[in-house]
């Protein structure tokens, strides 16, 4: 029995070596890496999941999947904000990184079949939502209206600029907003929650997928609820001190749940009340 359990424990607790296949710059401080198993089998991650990425000798961080690469490789979009992320962002083609996972729950795309879907992203929050956007477009005819509301600090901070145009052409109603615009900026300036008011969707059946910093989630959820979306059709992706990624260490506990084990994707009726507790 121990021998049978070995590979599973190894894969979840020990980093597997992955090779960087491609690195591309998204913004001044954000990079996307495509990484592939060095000698292991290809991975089939689900939209919404995350992996623990390690820069050898430096440390490990939880990073959401931002896409699916060629031949079972993983795609992650990383902002350079600390020692580990700086090292990961500095890697180049052929370099090795460590990977545990993918872990966690996925965006409930099946639950949204036949309904309008609002995808609401703030800043780097578009990265974990990108696999969901791509999956929705793969089955475009199975959903109602597809709406992406995306906010960032400035036009230069928007991720996946070229893909945004492609998604628009493929059937997404893409609405953008920034905190500070320039005279050449043609879209909105203001908070992303304000875009909810002008979006056209059926509030009775629509499903909302939200990701961004927690303060953005809080105000966006308020706008969605005010516009008729109920708590059980509202899903958020959280990031809270995830360390082990497999529900053992307890660092990411939020009330009765462990974000790494029970999330990162939660329905609002499951998690909303706990996010409102300041002491947690």
């Amino acid at each position: 029995m121990a021998a049978e359990a070995g590979p599973s424990i190894s894969r979840s607790a020990l980093p597997e070596p992955y090779v960087v296949r491609r690195r591309s710059r998204e913004t001044a401080d954000t990079w996307t890496l495509e990484i592939a198993p060095h000698d292991g089998p290809p991975i089939d991650p689900k939209p919404g999941q995350f992996a623990m990425l390690s820069a050898f000798g430096v440390g490990e961080v939880p990073i959401s999947l931002s896409g699916r690469g060629r031949g079972g490789s993983l795609v992650h979009t990383i902002r350079d904000v600390g020692e580990v992320t700086a090292e990961l962002c500095r890697t180049g083609r052929g370099d090795m990184v460590g990977v545990r996972g993918p872990f966690g729950t996925e965006w409930p795309l099946d639950a949204a079949l036949g309904a309008d879907v609002l995808v609401v992203a703030g800043g780097l929050g578009l990265a974990p939502l990108r696999p969901a956007v791509e999956a929705l477009l793969e089955r475009r005819d199975s959903y109602g209206r597809l709406i992406l509301l995306y906010g960032a600090r400035t036009p230069d901070d928007l991720l996946f600029r070229e893909e945004l145009d492609g998604w628009r052409e493929a059937g997404f109603d893409v609405q953008l907003t920034v905190d500070a615009g320039t005279p050449s900026w043609p879209d909105r300036v203001g908070v992303v929650g304000k875009l909810v008011e002008s979006a056209e969707f059926d509030p009775v059946s629509a499903v909302a997928l939200v990701c961004g910093p927690e303060v953005m989630i809080r105000f966006t959820v308020a706008a969605l609820v005010e516009n008729g979306i109920s708590d059980d059709r509202l899903y958020v992706s959280l990031e809270r001190n995830m360390k082990c990624g497999i529900g053992h260490c307890g660092h990411c506990q939020l009330g009765p749940v462990l974000v790494c084990r029970d999330g990162p994707v939660f329905s609002w009726d499951q998690i909303g009340r706990w996010l409102a507790v300041r002491e947690l």
Binding site: L53, V61, P62, I63, S64, H76, T77, I78, R79, D80, V81, G82, T85, G122, G123, L124, G125, A127, P128, G151, A152, R153, D157, T177, D179, A180, G181, T182, P183, W185, P186, D187, R188, V189, G190, V191, V192, G193, K194, S198, C211, G212, P213, V215, M216, F219, S237, E239
Partner: protein, 155 residues
């Protein structure tokens, strides 16, 4: 062809406004249009009007020496642009520029202030509705001060 009071009532800020008040607003109103890039008003100029946008997008801009204009807010169809007409010294605090071609109802602020002075109930009703817009925008500004999109490394 719809009357001006009917057009005014289409804006969310004036939803369910009593018909007599809508008529009074319409009596101070005219329809206007701006081409993309045109200026609706400039910082420091007398604020004697507000606009109810029927079509198009307006950018509120702050001119920063050395950096040029920065867009701090946009307003779209159904929204109201301008509240400086309500408060002394009745001068604009920002520039407003048409991002796209604009169709709007321009309400003369001097005219409507005089009507409010003569009918405190109308004044209260308008103040109540504009206060709601002001509160929404103040809240939005405060949220933005919290750096809504910052802080995360790899969501």
């Amino acid at each position: 062809m719809r009357t001006l009071d009917a057009v005014v009532l289409e804006a969310p800020i004036f939803a369910d406004l009593d018909a007599q008040y809508a008529e009074q607003l319409a009596g101070c109103s005219r329809t206007v249009g701006f081409e993309a890039g045109e200026t609706l008003f400039r910082e420091g100029d007398p604020a004697d009007v507000f606009y109810v946008l029927r079509r198009g997008r307006v950018a509120l801009e702050l001119f920063v020496p050395g950096r040029g204009p920065i867009t701090i807010e946009t307003a779209d169809e159904g929204e109201v642009v301008g509240w400086s007409w309500l408060f002394p010294p009745h001068t604009w605090h920002f520039d407003a520029r048409a991002v796209t071609p604009i169709r709007a109802v321009a309400v003369n602020g001097v005219c409507i202030r005089e009507k409010c002075d003569g009918d405190p109930a109308l004044g209260y009703e308008l103040m109540r509705r504009f206060s709601s817009v002001l509160l929404d925008r103040l809240n939005a500004t405060q949220v933005r001060l919290a750096d809504l999109y910052g802080g995360s490394h790899g969501r």
